[in-house]
């Protein structure tokens, strides 16, 4: 058991929330300064947003507070007194709890079981009658309820997220840290959850630090904000005194951003991709695609929106030959699609998968080799279709590296040595440098910085303008609204709503995402 004592709550009976300050926190990983002298201040009962691009240091800062990392310099004050937090258990004993991007509940246990076993003083043998009575009393004090007697796996994402928060409150945590908590929720669920938290902060029951990169969430729910860029705190203050433009400028700095892609005005052409009545199973053998129908025309982007886990990733895997199709027909340009190299080359099908280092590259192979995945068995990279010609392969890689501004010390470097944005750019160079008729894109901007995101979106739009059919699967509704010509909402393995982007809105899409 932990011997740390709880810091005494600040004066005033009503205020249960804790305040937190970081003073000059720095964290260095080898050649990289992840955090440089960062000081933030969160008052008791404040809803504080931590805003920044990916890689700005938000997660690192939070991990220093939670004790996952020990800061190289600086300290953390809790209620004005220095807190010594060496590991996450200390953080918990100090009343700091965290909600992660992905769920940490045990799916096969009920909500009640999850809450009770999470307690540090959970007994070896449970007296369930007593525990249930205790939970009931606890729930009565809470502003929201979640059914506690069904397995967590049967709960919707929004309910699970609420249960994660309930767990922290049950453990009597007074400062909640949320790491992009809305990425798995529908817009409606996200607003409801953040609204509840806001209510709790206003009643001074908890303080909240929320990591996010969505301005909408900051302006709608947060009291104050700190903006990080490249490991430094570059600004912040009361949200009411800042405009979105101010925050965006702080976040991005003076990095020039490629202009928003221009959507060329063009009527959609023939059907390029025709998916009819697709069925496929997920890894557990449960149906993931269930009578899935969709057509994508030349010169249009169809965006598939949906709460993650409704079959989107299985759809992308089926289309990239990574998952067998149980039933249904994939027709590309009037030909039955087979996931082999001949088909890909002949029908000019290309793909930008999410997390390219994991899904589109071989990390330990070189940049040049990774760039040759499409062409290694065609001249000039191959001789007689069999012998590898390393010279032409390398020459081509050099040209692509230059054209797509991939930052690498050499085409012979392992691609794993490149930064995320540069890996994505190397994959873009490989997939988009030729003629593209069909492009399958999945969450192309996950984990990338602002400038890379703008660049990649512009490239996708360019392909559409040139006449490619683009299927865009994204968990980021804003991305879909920004890029797509038509939006299709996916729920429980099927499309239940299709509409041109111009004649729909977030609320309508959100309703269908929730399965109605």
């Amino acid at each position: 058991m932990n011997v740390l004592t709880m810091p005494s709550p600040p004066a005033g009976d009503a205020v249960r929330a804790y305040s937190l300050k970081t003073i000059g926190v720095s964290k260095i990983f080898g050649p990289l300064t992840a955090l440089d002298d960062v000081s933030i201040s969160v008052e008791a009962g404040e809803f504080h947003a931590l805003l920044g691009e990916n890689g700005a240091g938000k997660s690192t800062l939070v991990k220093c507070i939670m004790g996952f990392y020990s800061a190289d310099r600086g300290k953390v004050l809790l209620n004005g007194a220095e807190a010594k937090i060496a590991n996450p258990r200390d953080a918990r004993a100090n009343g700091i709890g965290m909600v992660y991007q992905h769920f940490t509940l045990v799916p096969s246990l009920t909500g009640a079981e999850n809450l009770v076993i999470s307690r540090a003083d959970a007994p070896s043998i449970f007296d369930w009658k007593k525990e249930k009575a205790g939970l009931e009393a606890f729930l009565n004090r809470m502003p929201f309820r979640v059914p506690l007697d069904v397995p967590v796996s049967a709960l919707a994402a929004g309910e699970k997220q609420k249960l994660e928060i309930l767990k922290l409150l049950y453990l009597d945590q007074r400062l909640l840290i949320l790491d992009e908590p809305t990425s798995v929720l529908t817009p409606g669920e996200a607003d409801e959850m953040l609204g509840l938290l806001r209510g709790m902060t206003q009643r001074k029951e908890v303080s909240v630090i929320m990591i996010t990169h969505k301005f909408r969430e900051v302006t709608a729910f947060a009291d104050s904000v700190s903006v990080l860029r490249r490991g430094r705190k570059v600004g912040g203050g009361k949200v009411s005194e800042l405009s979105v433009e101010d925050m965006a400028r702080m976040m991005i700095g003076d990095t020039p951003i490629r202009d928003r892609a221009i959507r060329a005005d063009r009527a959609p052409g023939d059907v390029v991709l025709d998916l009819s009545a697709l069925y496929a199973d997920d890894d557990e053998g449960l149906p993931a695609l269930d009578q899935f129908n969709l057509k994508v025309h030349a010169g249009e982007i169809v965006g598939i929106a949906g709460v993650s886990g409704n079959g989107q990733s299985e759809l992308v895997e089926v289309l990239s030959g990574q998952r067998p199709l149980k039933d249904g027909r994939i027709v590309v340009k009037d030909e039955i699609f087979e996931p082999n190299r001949k088909s890909y080359a002949k029908l000019k099908i290309f793909g930008l998968p999410e997390e390219p280092l994991k899904n589109a590259t071989v990390p330990r192979m070189t940049v040049a080799e990774n760039m040759a995945f499409r062409t290694f068995d065609q001249p000039p990279s191959a001789w007689l279709g069999w012998w590898l010609s390393v010279g032409p392969m390398r020459t081509k890689a050099r040209a692509l590296i230059k054209q797509y501004r991939v930052k690498t010390s050499s085409p012979e470097s392992a691609i794993a040595d490149l930064s995320g944005g540069n890996v994505q750019r190397a994959v873009l160079a490989r997939e988009l440098s030729g003629e593209v008729d069909l492009l399958i894109v999945a969450n192309p901007c996950f984990g990338l910085d602002f400038a890379s995101v703008a660049e990649i979106r512009a490239q996708i739009m360019e392909q559409r303008n040139r006449g490619a059919a683009v299927l865009l699967v994204s968990e980021d509704l804003d991305e879909i609204l920004d890029l797509a010509d038509r939006v299709a909402v996916m729920s429980a393995g099927t499309i239940n709503y299709v509409s041109p982007v111009g004649s729909t809105n977030r609320a309508e899409i959100g309703k269908h995402m929730a399965g109605h």
Partner: protein, 376 residues
Amino acid sequence: MADIAEPMAPPMVAASEWRGDLSIRIRRGAEYVAIPLFALVVSAILFSLFLLALGKSPIQFFQLVHQGGFGTAFSIQNTLQRAAPLILTALAVAIPARIGLVMIGGEGALVVGGFASAAIAIPLVTGKASPMVALIIMAIAGMIFGALWVGIAGFLRYARGVNETISSLLLTYIGIATMNFFVEGALRDLTNPNKPSTMPIGDAYMVGKIPGTDVHWGLAIGVLLAIVLHILMSRTTFGFAVRVTGGNARAALAQGIPVGKLIVICCLIAGACAGLAGFYEVAAIQGRANASLVAGYGFTGILVAFLARHNAIAIIPVAIMFGGLVASGGLVQRRMDLPDATVLVLQGLTFVVLLVSETLYGRFKIFQPPITADRT
């Protein structure tokens, strides 16, 4: 960790930068040599402690290994004789490893292949076929049955997702038991009362020696195969597709690479190598199939392949080194009064240290390319 990038920075000045290519490759190559060497040294030290605990002299041990494995012309030939099957069984591990499989069924494929060679020799010898023809048929039979043995494990992996490490290990036991079943039953040579064996193929049908040496042709064939397979893996589109699959099967599938087909082909090649080793054990050493085929070459080959980092060329010197260790086993046993399992202790230690040393890759600055500004 996410990165801090400067994506819109002007492109680097190309020409001067590319000079780094060669240095990067040299550094990477040096790492692949230095870390296994380091692992060898550490395991030698640990083994010395083991000997000291037994009250034996480590110095004497290593002197005897040198003397018994490499000291005289005779011992060198003895070493090379034992290196031949090790090269082939190591290839049987290295080729599947390139496509991401941990296949350890070389011992089974060797035994099955050797037994198939000896069995098919019976009608050939009794029918007085020409030795050349007989040997070719025997070699092909050995390779086919060896290929089948590892191929089964590969096919189960491809078709049903069965763990290939477990299935290939278990197939080894099935292979050994199958040979024993026939050798002690239907195919037993009843004129030999001592040890259940198949009928001897006779001196006229034995594989010859490399001229001027006492080493059979299996060594030359093994070296040749290692070179050919190295070229196949590094310089052909087939090898490229195999490396992509081994590095990231998901990415390979998304590129339309026929992953399942490549897996089965690699396993067939691997099994054929081990089966060929079995053929040479029968046709060049034993002259018949019996329990002596189960000499552990298949298992030592696993160690050789891992130590060589599954590089077919590097397998050659490593196999010779372990051939020497195996060859000196008898001498060590006699002179130092140590049980013959002692050498196995050294091999086991080396394997464990080697696996631990895998975590060292990328940790030493000297082997890393100069860090670019945005590397995180």
